[in-house]
Every structure is written in structure tokens, then in C-alpha cells.
Amino acid sequence: MVKTEIKLKGLTLKNPVMTASGTFGYGEEYADFVDLSELGGIIVKGTTLHHREGNPYPRMAETPMGMLNCVGLQNKGVDYFIETIYPRIRHFETNVIVNVSGSNIDDYVTAAAKMDALDDIPAIELNVSCPNVKQGGMAFGVTCSGIEQVVKAVRDVYHKHLIVKLSPNVTNIAEIALAAEAAGADSVSLINTLLGMAIDAETRKPVLSMVTGGLSGACVKPVALRMVWQVAKAVKIPVIGLGGISSATDAIEFLLAGASAIQIGTANFIDPAISGKVAKGIVEYCERHGVKDVNELVGGMIL
């Protein structure tokens, strides 16, 4: 029997596999494909204090082995989440984690405080890295002072496990991660999407309504893996790795690079059952390699 349990500060995952915010809805969308109880956790859609309509269509452009999106945090706001969605998903037999976003410190703090009161939400993931919102989260996530400010403020009102999701669109992501750690983050997750764009040469117009968007999918994996490795070396808190993970082997690579847990994002679109398969595949890998505890893999890259 391979031990798969991962303990992050105050948050126990039955295995290292979670699903990334914005790619897994509220979990319900995938219930026909994945037994949610076989996952370490699900990170539900980005939630903001107030209702957001998001950006205009078109919001998506396919790229080689990936996609760009500029959805822009469409959601009905934290109160709607608490009243309507939370009762439906709170009893899922997995960690239900909410991704919280905002456009100013007060919004983050108010939304986080509301999440703190929900018994069945054991953690939030602070989104300081959404590239698709004007004056949005990414403004906080790209400077050390910005991230310190927002994480400190949220830390004061949020008493459970606080994940901070980092932007890759920075010069030195390890510095940003250290700033988040110093400000009180319990863990960091990375990477959010890479800022990119697409142009239709025939029409000479941008493909996305916002011109730029966030790149995700298999194509970003090498960048994500490198950043996870850099951050894991720099910080003492656990690192949650994501970016292009599409198979159990990909997930193992992130663990070896130093991630204590991983998230599956865009791959959910290509195979809606992938998260469950990755969880099983990690166990198979461990059996094949005589690994008794998944934790042994964390940071286990042989240099």
C-alpha cells in the first residue's frame, strides 16, 4: 500500500492531486467523469466579492499544445457562492478550496473573511495573478510589496490554510514567493497563466477580445516546472505545482522538482477524467519504483 496522504499546514490531502481553479467549475460539472472523493482537493472557480460578468467574447484562442483565455473572472460574487453553490458542494468527499480574487485590498479581505466562516471550506487560494482583469489581482502579484500588502491583510482575517497563487509574469518568482511566505502564506501555488496573445493574420485583428490572455496547457509545462523548482528551493512553506500537467508522469516531475502537491488545469478540458487517472497513476509509479510514501518524491530530483 502506497501512502499518498499529503499534509500541508492545517490541510490534509488524501493524495497530491487537486484540480486548478477555472478549469473544473465547481466540481459538479465533472461529477460524471471523476469520483471527486478520489482527489486530494478541488479548487473551485475564482470568486470575487462582487458579481463580475467577465470579458466579452471571444475569450479563447487555441495555440500549439495549449490555449489562451481572457475569461476575466466571471462569477456571481461571494454572497451568491455562499448562498447557492456552497450548500451543493460542501459535502463533497474532498477538500473544497475556493480561489478568491479581487481588485483592491478591501475586496480581498471582505471576501476572505466570509470564506473563513464556512466550515467546509478548509482553505482558500488567493489569486494575485489573474492576467485578465484590469487593475486586477496581477497588479498585486508582480511586486514583492504588492503581494506582502494583500497577503498580510488577508492573513489578519483568514485563519485557515492560505494558499497564494503566483504569477509567472515576473522577473524573479522566488522573490515573490518569499514575500508571500513572509507575509503569512501557508503555501504557494504556481504557475498561473503566462501572458500571451494571438493575431488572426487574415483579418489582422487580435483573436481575443482583450487582445492579450493567459496561456495554459501542455505547452507551459517546462516553464512551470522550472519555476516550481526555483520556488521550492527558496521557500520553507509547501509548494503546489501546476502548469500543463496532463499525465501522472507530468505530476511526478512536479513532485520531484519540489512540489508537495499538484493541480491539473487545462488537461481537464481534453480528458474530463484525467484528474482521477493521474491520482491512480501516481500510485502505480510509486509501486513500480518501490516508493512507499508519495512524500518521498517531493524534491527528489537527482542532480
Binding site: 467549475g25 467574447y57 471571444p58
Partner: protein
Amino acid sequence: MLRIMCCYAEYVASQNVWPAANRRSPHIPRSGTFHEVNHILRSSKFHEVNHILRSSKFIMKIIDFIVVEKQSFQRAALLKLKSSTPLPEIRGGQFVNVRVDGCDKAYLRRPISIHDVDYQNNTIDLLIQEKHEGTKTLCALPVGARVNIVLPLGNGFTMPEKDDNVLLIGGGIGIAPLLYFAKTIHSNISCRDAIHRISFLLGGRTGSDLMLLDRFRAVGDVFITTNDGSMGEKGFVTDHSLWNTMEINKIYACGPMPMMKAVAKVAREKGIWCEVSLENQMACGIGACLCCVESTKEGNLCVCKEGPVFNVERLLW
């Protein structure tokens, strides 16, 4: 309406679809479960059942199909795909999401309308137009190829009522979902005694755009327009002479956006109930990514999940 419900409850009971799924994930609440339908049947809230039929998420499956028959057209192909497991229930106007293997340029699945379904033989027919690399790869699939498909997706068209005269309007490859929907109208238990008049109004740029007309003629009357006049009446579907003569109660349209907008305009002017099937660009196909939204009077809605079929009164056109 009662008969629809009975049929529905019987179907669920006979297939044991939901209870089986619930055994797997007992704590996952589902919209429109067997018990909910049963409860509504007992509580006589008959009017709610149609809502559940329309809004409930039927069980979606990921199935490896095999191409068992293929018919090629100019820039299109008809694939008959066989499943080794029983098909889930599929409504007319729903779609599938097809994984494109062996094409570097198709990372995401391709949403394709369901053209026909044969539950006896566990086959579905997909009529696919070559647009870009992904659909070209699908059209080039040989008999015997394996195709990974997520289905059924989306809401589907609303069943007409007894005695409705139904006009199904298709433009180009938009004719695809109309055939199966028309067949489901014929087989719908609530309509068994009713004499439905089903008419197709199919439009293309030229005659060769219009495929499989015999299939449509077997289900209803077929009227045709082509832009160049090479088949049927010359012009757009909205120019056809039937608009002056035919009594129409319900319009269902699928095709290029300008065609659907023109149809919606005519429907509004004439006060005819009208549904259209949109095909905004999608990533997930199941309402998770929020990429394919259409601006509606209710805000941004996912075409993949809350659509692809919308009553034109909900849209901002």
C-alpha cells in the same frame, strides 16, 4: 405533458441510469435526479417536469467509438461511429466533443452536432465540415479508426407541442442537428397521436453544399434555397416563398450567424416562436471554462452548457 413524464420516469427506471451513477458518488447532488422526477410526478408539479427535462444534466460519458461507415463530400464527411457500450440518452440539438488524435494543431476537442442516433446499434452519425486542421483530420478518419468522444453535451431543442407546424432551418453544415431532432419529434410519445407537419428549409451557397437530402426527405418536407440558384429557390433561406404561404408555429434554426440573425428577425416580425443553435468557440464543452459565452438578457451564458440552443427572446440580437 403527463405522457412525457411517464415516458421519462419509465426510461430512467428501465435504464437504471441515475441510481447506478449515484452508487459511484453517493454525495454528489445531481440536478434532475430520478428521485426529484419521482417526487415531482407524485407532487403533481407537472409543469416543472418539462423544465427538468430541459435543464437536467443527463449522464455524460467518455466513449471510444469506432468509425464503421464513412461517406465523403466536398469539404465534409459523414461518419457513422459505433460504441461498444450502450449510448446515453441523447436529445435532438445536443452535441459531442471529439478528441482529435494525430493533429498537432488541434489541442482541444472539437464540438460537433449529433446528426443521427441509432440506439439499437449503438451508433451515432456525425456530419463534419472541414474548416481548419482539426476538422480536416476528423474528416480524413478511415473506417476502423478509433475516436474518443464526450457526450451528450448541451441542452438540445425544445420539443414542439401537439399540432405545431414546425420549420427546421439549416444553413450549410448547420443542417446537421436538424435531422435527429426531427426524428425525435416523430418518436416523442407526447406527439404520437398528433399530426406534426415537419418542414425543412435548407440553404447553401450552392447545390453541392446541401448533403444527404434523402435523409431529410424521409422525415419531412424539404425546401431549398441556394445563393447561386443552382438548387431550389435562389437567395437566402429568409427569401423563400414558403414564408408567404406556410403557417408556422415553431422555428428551429442552425447555421451561420448572419443566417440565424436573419431568421430571428423574420420570426420576431411574424411573432413566431424561434430557437437557434449557436456554435461559439469552446474549450471544455461542459460549462467549466466559461470561454464560449453568449451575451444574453440574463448575462453571459455558456453556449456549451446553457445552450447551444437558445430561444431568440433570450438573446440580445
